[in-house]
Symmetry: C2
Subunit: 309 residues, 2 copies
């Protein structure tokens, strides 16, 4: 079976970039991989562990690539996209893996030059680790990858979109096409809000620890511990998600806050009926997830967990 | 090795009651188990699957027991405790497994009669399942069990406390003695707040689903799914926890809300520095949990997960 792309370029040799590089080679989705990272140590390490052909600049990395994957924090997509597009060959695809699609699509389209196909993407996969060594080829197996192509593209653009979808499928992903704004709202609910809340609950507990003298950590298995796993995620990545998906996040956060105010009031008023009704109602969506086959035996905050950190 | 108690009584044949019954017999911590449940179907089922000697009333169940374990929702502890204490023999232990200790201790002490030793307890273990069939003997292995004995007990009381601790240790638990008020504050942080927040986030997403047309469920693996696992927990149990640990829960909820308001403001003001600092800071407590050996490879919200529901 022939490769989908003769050569791909990975810009950013972190967990996702490294996993695309490994997956593409292991599964024969690309004939060759060029790799660049603006951090010299990461780039050196990427070369040492064989993630791809190390290139000294973005321009060198993308020049001969059929598809360029921007695997950098959302806040760095604009500059990285401009540097890439300027050096890319005609007919090549410029895509990304950012967790926010509206703002990234805007920046990439602004960076575009004729003949380069802008097709933003978002593989919904990860672990709480980062860096070149964190990547592994099976990361995307069975996971969704959302791509947000232009609705109005021509035949050549549509063919490029099909090629990008085929690449992700070869890595084991289930590909979904979606409008960028819709992606940002759905992910605000399913990913961004849960992460923000988890960060917040960890911060709260951290403050409480002066009162509880280490016992929050000691008895963390009672539920709290699982929220802390998220706290090991990359702070830069998440800062950029919240800065770039502000509108949708604030909307769902407003709803969350309204709901929490109602629960707090029920507790204060010893209103057992409201508490019972909310808790019972919450079973419905749990049941939907099980029925939709989206449950797994072990919760993992959307991450594959391969070993103890 | 001889049993710690010749006979124990389990009041409430649910997940915890069933697991104590099984654990006590499997590990030889008790010579015999009497069991009662106010729900006729659960009691019948408990007998069918061999959880213990089925008794028709609480009085019948506790009369010849050396230790009585109240395994009912926190809100039912008062009545169950009174019914039990009235029929118990002198020198026997009356304990419980409730997630709140201050209010339960008060109710049990009020129910006490001379010669019955009141020693509240809380095994920090569970799954999201409930009912007689959910129990298994290994549930408490390696898990904390907090007991909150009276500080001022006499020698006989202290000996009874040691016996109860030995029972839990035989089931595999690590036993910790703690003041009831302190237990309630620590658990408000490590368990009650995380569960309330998880219930709330599920409710919020449920409301959003009308806007997102089923895509919250579809892409739930991005982080949201893990919060929904909690929504399968017993609504009655959790209603009672929040009604009976109101003060501590409202205190930590107030802190959580202050912290969330600050994060929301940072997002609204595009204040990336604050977001980055909070996210980075949160790594500290995560590191503490790993260093304290309280981490596991798979997050489980304080539950042992044995199979797909």
């Amino acid at each position: 079976m022939s490769a989908v792309f003769e050569r791909i370029a990975i810009i950013g040799a972190g967990l996702i970039g490294g996993s695309i590089a490994r997956g593409a080679m292991e599964k024969g989705a690309a004939g060759a991989v060029s790799i660049f990272d603006m951090d010299a140590a990461s780039l050196k390490r990427a070369g040492e562990i064989g993630l791809g052909d190390v290139r000294a600049t973005i321009a060198d990395a993308v020049r001969d690539a059929d598809a360029v994957f921007l695997c950098v924090p959302v806040g760095a997509m604009g500059q990285t996209g401009r540097d890439s597009a300027a050096a890319m060959k005609a007919g090549a695809i410029l895509t990304d893996v950012g967790s926010v699609k509206g703002s990234v699509a805007k920046e990439l389209h602004a960076a575009a030059k004729p003949g380069v196909h802008i097709i933003p993407g978002h593989p919904i996969a990860g672990t709480e680790k980062s860096g070149p060594d964190a990547g592994f080829g099976a990361l995307f197996e069975g996971r969704w990858c959302i791509i947000t192509p232009d609705g109005g593209g021509d035949a050549e653009y549509r063919a490029a979109t099909d090629r990008l979808a085929a690449f992700w499928e070869k890595l084991g992903s289930k590909v979904e096409r979606m409008d960028a704004q819709r992606h940002d709202l759905v992910l605000a609910v399913t990913s961004h809000l849960p992460h923000l809340i988890a960060y917040n609950i960890v911060a709260t507990a951290y403050d409480m620890e002066s009162v509880t003298e280490g016992e929050v950590v000691k008895f963390s298995a009672a539920g709290f511990r699982d929220f802390t796993r998220i706290a090991a995620s990359d702070p830069t990545m998440w800062r950029d998600v919240f800065l770039n998906n502000k509108e949708a996040v604030l909307e769902v956060l407003g709803r969350f806050d309204d709901d929490l105010t109602a629960l707090r009031k029920a507790i204060r008023n010893s209103d057992g009926k409201t508490l019972f009704d909310v808790f019972t109602h919450a079973r419905g969506i749990r049941r939907s997830i099980i029925d939709a086959g989206q449950d797994t035996a072990a919760p993992n905050f959307g991450r594959d967990i391969d070993e103890k950190k």
